[in-house]
Symmetry: C2
Subunit: 221 residues, 2 copies
DNA sequence: AAATGTGAACGCGTTCACAGCC
DNA sequence: GGCTGTGAACGCGTTCACATTT
């Protein structure tokens, strides 16, 4: 195995999760014509500590210059490469309810190299409808999307009771990366990565903190 | 200070983040007419280990029965109370672009006790438009929403360059809990809690894993 | 007998602090 | 002199394993 692949594999998950933030900050700096940054500056732009930034970057390799800082273009390119963003990633969205339609129309994906190549739904009454300029396709189309179009990432936007089935279909077709918006726990075989985004959970966590503040105010005004 | 308030404050953040998942699993069990669960069963339903579940619940108090398990209704009620979900939480969404409109139309919020009481936008051309049955209001309405309607949670769905301003307006009006969908780091004073949801970041993390798999397959087919 | 609640062990992630290099 | 890269220290969160309780 090559050294690059080895290094790449050993990046801790927590670091990987911060790399997109660093990349965004670097892109913004580059747009402002800034050619070089210190870890202190970049960390501030990304909202982390400089020590954490340096430790994170050290997992990618040694791309800084002591006494100087990091070359903005170079570092952006290294992170892009480490994240695997040099290629386009075809994405399919499953579930054309409220949220699915919203995601289909959301332009933020395309901006970062994610092409929504298909919208799918398990309900035959929805299949064929036009959403965000695409015709909604049946789940049976999934295998062909994987083999012919290189589909690699599935987004689940079904109601919670359909999430497991949708995921099973995606995995059976060969998709190994899933972003789950349904408020449900889904089981997958080894080798498949699932990330979950749950809007209600986020609000519930905020409610907890809001309540905590309210309690404090009553107790110690 | 009451014991309940003290205990509530000491729940570790990581545990708080899992409570909504437990609550969801319990609600589902209750709907199926199940009155009692063991930590093993509930943990499986929530997708965590039984040891972690028990440790998490121990922060709330001692609501299980040794040798028996947990009463579903009782535990659901305790978690509801710990999270502060006995009351309704008024929410405002700022930024009526693509994502903001989608969130405004999303019904998942209301189902869990979050009332979207206002949609706002900083652009006068958007103010007055009707979105999801509500008239879009100007940012100047924020202070009145806080004092008169008890607005407590703000959702930022602006483009990234408007996020800090939107957040500043929310905080100035008295909002202490913010859910940020904009791909930007925002600064807030102490006492204000911000949670961030970034769809592109999630996809980028998935891309990393997808690429890792691809590399492995080339190296060790 | 069965399952909770919890101290102790463990491991990961973050921060510290400084050696090393420009 | 200044800033990176990193071993060491630290702290938090998870898991283990069992004493405790019904």
């Amino acid at each position: 195995m090559s050294a690059a692949a080895t290094a790449r594999r050993e990046i801790p998950e927590a670091s990987v999760a911060r790399l997109p933030g660093y990349l965004r900050a670097l892109t913004s700096l580059a747009r402002d014509g800034i050619a070089s940054v210190s870890s202190e500056e970049l960390a501030a732009a990304a909202g982390v500590s400089s020590a954490m930034l340096r430790k994170d970057l050290s997992h990618l390799g040694s791309y800084g210059v002591r006494g100087v800082g990091y070359d903005v273009e170079r570092l952006a390119s290294e992170i892009t490469s480490a994240l695997g963003l040099t290629q386009d990633w075809p994405v399919a969205i499953v579930g054309m309810g409220n949220l699915g339609r919203a995601l289909a129309a959301y332009r933020g994906f395309a901006e970062r190299g994610f092409r929504v190549i298909a919208l799918l739904d398990g309900d035959p009454r929805v299949v064929g409808e036009e959403v965000a300029g695409q015709r909604v396709r049946p789940m049976a189309d999934l295998p062909a999307l994987v083999t012919e179009e290189g589909l690699a990432i599935g987004v689940i936007a079904t109601p919670s009771d359909g999430a497991q089935q949708a995921c099973d279909d995606l995995v059976a077709a060969g998709v190994r990366s899933v972003l789950n918006f349904a408020p449900a726990v889904i089981a997958v075989p080894d080798g498949v990565v699932v990330r979950k985004v749950d809007l209600s959970t986020e609000l519930q966590i905020l409610a907890f903190h809001g309540q905590r503040v309210a309690v404090e105010e009553v107790v110690a005004p």
